[in-house]
């Protein structure tokens, strides 16, 4: 905890560049928020019971009501959450999709890690994933 004060960050480029150095992580930056705007707003619409009903009736037709890219629509249909993060999705918005599917946070999150739900749950019960080796790509620590 000997780092400089957060307020010393005056350079937005340097601030954002550091985020790309964290392995296996997509920080929800403005660039991602712009890319994923309609994807996230689609997911948000599933907060309403009437929309959930229409979504479940015909997912593809419901997606076609939104100005999303075909790539985003395919990733939603495939429930490929890592891909959705790359395409600008945010986990709290994507949660509306997996909640509608009846999945818990733990179940949905495990699908992004390459582990089975059981393996992931076992890792969490054993104290979680160690930060050792996954802090920085450049510094390999």
């Amino acid at each position: 905890m000997n780092a400089p004060p957060a307020g010393e960050h005056s350079d937005i480029h340097e601030y954002l560049e550091e985020f790309e150095d964290i392995p296996g992580t997509r920080v929800y930056t403005a660039a991602r928020a712009r890319k994923g705007y309609h994807l996230n707003q689609f997911a948000m619409s599933l907060m309403k019971p009437e929309n959930r009903r229409r979504w479940k009736e015909n997912e593809r037709a419901y997606l076609d009501e939104w100005p999303m890219t075909e790539e985003q629509k395919q990733a939603v249909l495939a429930r490929d959450y890592n891909r959705l993060l790359d395409l600008g999705g945010n986990i709290y918005f994507l949660a509306k999709v997996f909640s509608t599917d009846g999945l818990s946070f733990l179940q949905a999150v495990s699908t992004m890690t390459g582990m089975s739900v059981e393996q992931y749950q076992a890792m969490m019960n054993a104290g979680g994933r160690s930060p050792e080796g996954v802090r920085s790509i450049k510094e390999k620590r």
Binding site: Y15, I22, L106
Partner: protein, 280 residues
């Protein structure tokens, strides 16, 4: 005169709300978590605070991508529990304190904090889970709540130092309110967790415990932790801990620890909980 008598910090994992609502708090998985809140429940029952300034973040419930306020204060009379996709939690409505809330909002704006004012919104698990942890399942919450929502989702989120300064400004605002009120400030969210990507499931108990240490006493080192350190060391959602610093800033120069609790895991998250009081 109103005064800030204590600060409470706690994680606000949605699964804890499920455990309370479904009567599972005594289950083997949840018992070690809830046991750590028993002391606080009795303490709160004896303290009988009048108002809580409850610092939390909305999780795409009241706010979507249309509007992203960095700091928003609830000045309304009443807030309903949000439907987060599986129906609203069966918990009482949250009753506000518009007189104190507007007083704080006005004071903060004069103090150079450009607050967003919210009169109507629903409140999600970020706000209602901490209430359940501290008060159980009453027919009505025994305290008025001033919601203070912080953007910790879309970057850049406010710096730890800015959060600390906001806490200091909240303290000045509360102290200039004429009514005799017992006010607590709660900081919620955290501790280490990452809910996304191949690195999901990250937990850093050593770092979390150093952060808990840093909340106690007169050090102000925590306000200088940069965002990148929270992200690297505690996972992408560990950034929520900047909200604890609003509470810490509101307690003044020095704090005393009344209660401390830490447990791994709850779902994807490390549970941390502190009860602090101003030490001077």
């Amino acid at each position: 005169m109103a005064r800030i008598t204590a600060g409470v910090a706690t994680s606000h994992v949605p699964l804890l709300g499920v455990a309370v609502d479904q009567g599972k708090t005594g289950d083997a998985y949840f018992k070690p978590i809830f046991d750590g809140y028993e002391w606080t429940k009795s303490w709160e029952a004896a303290q009988k605070p009048d108002v809580i300034v409850l610092v939390y973040n909305d999780h795409a419930s009241a706010f979507d991508m249309k509007i992203i306020p960095t700091f928003a204060i609830g000045c309304g009379e009443r807030y309903k529990p949000a439907d987060e996709g599986w129906g609203p939690r069966p918990v009482p409505d949250v009753i506000g304190h518009p007189d104190l809330a507007w007083h704080i909002a006005q004071s903060l704006i004069l103090d150079d904090f450009d607050m967003t004012i919210i009169n109507e919104m629903d409140v999600d698990h970020g706000l209602t889970v901490p209430l359940s942890m501290m008060f159980g399942q009453p027919a009505a919450w025994p305290v008025k709540i001033i919601p203070l929502a912080v953007n910790v989702v879309t970057y850049p989120v406010p710096s730890g130092n800015r959060c600390w300064l906001l806490g200091e400004a909240i303290r000045r605002a509360v102290q200039s309110f004429p009514d005799d009120l017992n006010v607590q400030v709660w900081g919620t969210g955290g501790m280490s967790h990452q809910l996304q990507g191949p690195r999901a499931g990250l937990i850093n108990a050593e770092w979390d415990n150093r952060f808990l240490d840093g909340m106690i006493g007169e050090s102000d080192a925590l306000r200088r932790i940069p965002h990148i350190e929270y992200l690297r060391e505690t996972g992408s959602e560990g950034i929520e801990m900047v909200m604890w610093l609003i509470m810490r800033g509101a307690l003044g120069r020095k704090t005393r620890c009344l209660h401390r609790h830490y447990h791994v895991p709850c779902s994807n998250t490390a549970i941390g909980h502190l009860v602090l009081e101003p030490a001077e």
